[in-house]
């Protein structure tokens, strides 16, 4: 069975500080990892995918198979980054089903 663990419920930083949201996973096959974000009063949306190797809104995430991690990083946090962040893993089978972590609330203070 696959599992996604986000150890921090809340991460509070000051504007301009580096941010790292942790995500660890358990999966027997070759994983596909994602970060989803939910801003206040908005719906959940995709932030980035590991297969795209992209940087979105200054965020990056590298899949580390040795450590089974997919941490989300940003060198300089902005107040508008405050949101709920969910790490997700694509399940097995033929569907695009996702297993989500419990989420980490990021609060960026001025």
């Amino acid at each position: 069975a696959q599992r996604v663990t986000q150890p921090e419920k809340l991460l509070s930083v000051f504007k301009g500080a580096p941010v790292e949201l942790k995500c660890n996973y358990s999966y027997s096959g070759s994983p596909e990892l994602f970060w989803y974000v939910q801003y206040s009063r908005q719906r959940l949306q995709l932030l980035l995918r590991h297969i795209s190797r992209e940087s979105i809104k200054g965020f990056t995430a590298d899949l580390n198979k040795g450590e089974t991690s997919f941490h989300l990083k940003k060198p300089f946090a902005q107040e508008e980054d405050s949101a709920m962040y969910y790490c997700a893993l694509r399940g097995t089978g033929g569907y695009s089903t996702l297993t989500f972590g419990k989420g980490t609330m990021l609060l960026v203070s001025p």
Binding site: V4, E32, F34, R43, L44, Q45, L46, R49, I51, Y86, A88, R90, Y95, S96, T97, L98, T99, F100, G101, K102, G103
Partner: protein, 114 residues
């Protein structure tokens, strides 16, 4: 991207009753998903609904409790049957987007069962 709406946005229900949640998409999609997000918990997939076939339920969820309809490529309903306070949750509809693992989510239905 797909624009998804859900009705109702929230409701307060008495135990033992049932509530049907509607999910409408602005484009035709093959795969739709229903999730539950209980207070303080993550999103948990209830079932995958493909048009023209029976919904596929995840472990711990059964059709008698959460019947799903998928009459066409733009619409689905989830019914929460014989509700108890433990069913108090946010229920989310989503659709598969382009790109593996990409999903677009509705705004959610916030349900409180008394």
């Amino acid at each position: 991207s797909a624009v998804i709406s859900q009705k109702p946005s929230r409701d307060i229900c008495q135990r033992g009753t049932s509530l049907t949640i509607q999910c409408q998409v602005d484009s035709q999609v093959t795969m739709m998903f229903w999730y539950r997000q209980q207070p303080g918990q993550s999103l948990t997939l209830i079932a995958t609904a493909n048009q023209g076939s029976e919904a596929t339920y995840e472990s711990g969820f059964v059709i008698d409790k959460f019947p799903i309809s998928r009459p066409n490529l733009t619409f689905s309903t989830l019914t929460v049957s014989n509700m108890s306070p433990e069913d108090s949750s946010i229920y989310l509809c989503s659709v598969a987007g382009q790109g593996v693992g990409t999903q677009y989510f509705g705004p959610g239905t916030r349900l409180l069962v008394l």
